[in-house]
Amino acid sequence: MNNGAQDKRCEIWAIGGGKGGTGKSFVTSSIGTHLASKGNKVVLIDADLGGANLHTLLGVSKPRNSLTDFFEKKASLKDIIVNCGIPDIGLVSGTLSSLDSENIKYAQKLKLFRQIKAIDTDYILIDLGAGSHNNTIDTFLLADKMIVVTLPEITALENMYHFIKNVFFRKLKIILSAHGLKDVIQDVWKNRDAHGIKHLKDVVEHLMGTSVHIRDIIENELATFRIHIVLNQVRSGREIMVGASVKSVCLKFLGFDAQYAGHIEYDETVLRCINKRLPFMLTHPFSHVAKEISKLTENLRDGRQITVTADKYANRRL
């Protein structure tokens, strides 16, 4: 991937999704392993500062360095990338000794983002924690590809919708601020009753109606804003359709594009591997799960998505 393309900027993928335990870290480590196996240099960053465990999924018990060194000892990011035993994968561990993730200062956050973008590699994958805290969302927005990992479960879907709505609003806010329109969204939302606004899409439509300038800004944003969906822990053919349905809901009710990158079946071997600190993709390269992860990684890389048709899946068993 490096050959010839000298000024090729590396691609940043962020993996989030709102709910805890959906498999964000598992997916991050597996996608990373697949990319590396295809000859890419990959750096994984554990941005789940409150519950860092990406190192465990990669088979590292105690990372030599971590973001503590960055935040507390002023180490530079590139110096705290540790080897994790898998060729071409570097890890920035998130384990923190004392610092509370929500109290990271704004300046530190910017410095971290700057240094992430400066890492010399092919792919940077950022594993986010659960929840929709602003620090989490801002890290998510750093990415070229924003990936959500969700499950065919109502609570996971609820949190995911909440998360991506927040991401979208935060992005709009940032874009509008950059155009000197700092408070328009908050103002509209505060006065939503007066404007007859109930839904997210109404806010966007209202804003678009306020001026041509604002409409252009938002339309521009909508044209490029894209969420990639990974549906994890799938147990039946019918559940595979959930990803396609979520995609439709995003378009029709939230007003932006979502792509269904792929799905991963539920397999108890995943847990067994994690408990033994074995990287699943390396120990089970021929498993169905590994194949699904390879496929969805390539879809993400090439900007493709899957189309699933109900007639094939509705009654199919896995």
């Binding site: 479960e153 189309t307 048709t309 007639d311």
Partner: protein, 187 residues
């Protein structure tokens, strides 16, 4: 069809305007089932999704599908090049068919054979798997897909045989439902 309408219909079905007939059908079946019924995907965002809006979507999807199917049939512009069925329905058979009110799988098979078409032709034309038509004719209800999909297939099949799609589907689905209910009781 005016180009704006054409675009609007494809948009309602969340497809690009170069999509094929089979994609139009698949998307229609999926969206109709998604917004006509409750599922975890819609319940999880119920606060953004009023009944009224859902109803509107189902209507838009229905309209888009009907219009696009008409368009494909008249223009024959499906890129895969499916042609009109190649048989001609004789006057006598037409009369006979228009008097029918009940459409069992057996009867559908009879009509098909009278028209001299085999299931492979139907499958190629509709881009629906042959297996489904076999099961429809044999009324193997337990192997058939969920009702919304089944209904779509029967309508396509009826349309292919120059029968009234709604009439055939309603009759067939009626029997399908009571059979499934009985089965439910047994289990």
């Amino acid at each position: 069809m005016p180009i704006e309408d054409y675009k609007k219909y494809f948009e309602a079905l969340e497809l690009s305007p170069d999509s094929q007939l089979s994609e139009v059908r698949n998307s229609y079946l999926h969206l109709k089932s998604l917004y006509s019924n409750d599922s975890i995907v819609t319940s999880a965002i119920a606060y953004e999704l009023s009944e009224e809006k859902r109803h509107d979507i189902v209507e838009q999807v229905e309209e888009a599908y009907t219009k696009l199917i008409d368009f494909f049939e008249n223009k024959g512009s499906d890129p895969a090049g499916s042609k009109k069925p190649s048989f001609v329905v004789g006057e006598e058979l037409k009369q006979y068919m228009s008097g029918m009110t009940s459409f069992s799988g057996e009867l559908l098979r009879e009509i098909r054979e009278k028209l001299g078409v085999n299931l492979k032709d139907v499958a190629v034309f509709t881009k629906i798997r042959k297996q489904y038509f076999e099961d429809i004719e044999r009324e193997k209800f337990s192997s058939l897909p969920a009702e919304v999909y089944l209904k779509g297939y029967i309508m396509e099949y009826a349309r292919y045989l120059s029968l009234d799609p709604e009439k055939v589907a309603n009759d067939y689905i009626g029997r399908y439902r009571s059979a499934m209910k009985d089965k439910g009781k047994q289990d």
